[in-house]
């Protein structure tokens, strides 16, 4: 064992059925009351109002760009000109799907319910997530954000494996893992963690949707094989580049934005200002990401639609740590904090609050023995 590995903090139990889960429940960290910045009821009602217009506009544009870039990729097939078309298509499919899955899962993107559900299912398929499992895991993520043993969506597990985090940008490991989960679900099997956060009445739906998704992927593979068998050569890659493949070659943007949400911040707290990060990002990234760069705001008030998050940010920023001014700045901050977290038990980045902000809510943080510095 290398010396640097020997000094790593001990691994925590991130399963939802182990000792961390027990500790979180016993200490009162599970399903607890979180800190919220004061916002008047009138203002919050206005911010929570649902609209169809912004999401219809964004979805039409999103789908049209799929068609345009896919058509360009196929039209210019065999030429280098096709490459940027496929790269753009990949990001629209393999990265923008994440924010569409997320916002429609909350039911806040559109006012009309069927529109949320329709886009939710398309995006779930693209991002290789079982639409039932992830609806429930994400509900848990909001109930118990980064509470170890309760939150099924913790990305930064300690000690952080830096090589795996770098590989995440290629999409290969995560996609393969997601595909295996879908295949397992399609065979009627749910893990203990899945059974923990999906109510029993919903579990048959998880199996059904996994079968639908796997069926489409199988069909894609059959078409690819048929094209190969009929001598179409490299053109046989087109079905894979169109369906499934973008989750690998186009996921880098999703990973880039997603890793910043909670990286280097606290576990086991009841104040989203301590475990979530807001980063100012450029307009294109915010469109692809549907404003989830306002992540503290989203976690504090998850029913505010993506299109109202900039207004919510303006309303509560006086009570939040200063946002990172850029993606680059945020990554530098995360990098330094995570390197320290690998070796220093209990460390997390505690950002300064502006003058006049309410103090951090920390009273339950030390209730989890594994968080203490001793």
């Amino acid at each position: 064992m290398a010396l640097s590995e020997a000094r790593l903090v001990p691994a925590r139990d991130y399963s939802l059925t182990g000792r961390s889960a027990k500790a979180a429940i016993e200490s009162g960290l599970s399903a607890a009351e979180w800190y919220h910045t004061d916002v008047s009821r009138k203002e919050m009602k206005e911010l929570m109002q649902r609209l169809d217009g912004p999401a219809i506009r964004d979805t039409i544009l999103w789908l049209m760009l799929h068609v345009v870039f896919a058509a360009g990729g196929i039209w210019f097939w065999g030429s280098w000109i096709a490459v940027p078309f496929w790269l753009a298509y990949g990001v629209l499919y393999g990265s923008a799907c994440d924010s569409r899955w997320h916002e429609c899962g909350h039911g806040t993107a559109f006012r009309t319910r069927w529109m949320n559900d329709f886009v939710y299912h398309i995006a779930s398929f693209q991002v290789l997530r079982n639409p039932v499992n992830w609806r429930w895991s994400h509900a848990r993520h909001h109930t118990d954000t980064i509470i170890v043993g309760r939150d099924a969506e913790i990305v930064w597990m300690h000690p952080v494996k830096m090589a795996l985090k770098a590989l995440a940008f290629t999409g290969m490991i995560d996609s393969w893992a997601s595909l295996k989960v879908l295949a397992r679900n399609a065979m009627g099997q749910l893990s203990d963690d899945e059974k923990d956060y999906i109510p029993q009445s919903e579990q048959p739906k998880a199996v059904l949707w996994a079968r639908v998704h796997m069926g489409i992927h199988a069909l894609t593979a059959v078409v690819t094989l048929w094209m190969l068998a009929t001598g179409m050569g490299w053109k046989a890659a087109i079905p894979f580049l169109l369906i499934g493949g973008p989750r690998v070659y186009g996921c880098w943007h999703m990973v880039m934005t997603g890793l910043l949400q909670h990286g280097g911040l606290a576990e086991d707290v009841l104040d989203h200002r301590l475990n979530s990060r807001t980063v100012y990002m450029n307009a294109v990234t915010r469109w692809l990401y549907w404003n989830m760069n306002y992540h503290v705001e989203h976690h504090m008030f998850p029913m505010v639609p993506y299109h109202a998050l900039p207004q919510l940010h303006a309303a509560i920023r006086h009570d939040l740590p200063e946002p990172n001014p850029s993606i680059w700045h945020a990554y530098r901050e995360v990098w330094q904090a995570v390197l320290r977290q690998r070796h220093e038990k209990g460390y997390y980045l505690k950002r300064e609050l502006p003058p006049g902000a309410q103090p951090y809510r920390l009273e339950l943080h030390e209730a989890v023995p594994e968080r203490t510095h001793a």
Binding site: K45, G107, P302
Partner: protein, 86 residues
Amino acid sequence: MRWDHDGRTFAIYRSPEGAFFCTDGLCSHEQVHLAGGLVRDVLSECPKQNGQFDYRTGEAKRAPACNRLAIYPARVEGGQVMVEVT
């Protein structure tokens, strides 16, 4: 709006037609108070995860809410909302 009584908490609603309704105050999914959420038509939405309930019947209408809310008869008498708590 929220109404606390005798160690219990409730949510009171006024429909677009002006009728009053009362349900349990906490979402049956994760015990978040519904008074902080949005009311659209006859639906009360949980402010945390968008579980939805028909406040007239208490029926859960959208996941992650699966279990119905208890409902209590409510009416206006002399300018005050009266709730029959059982």
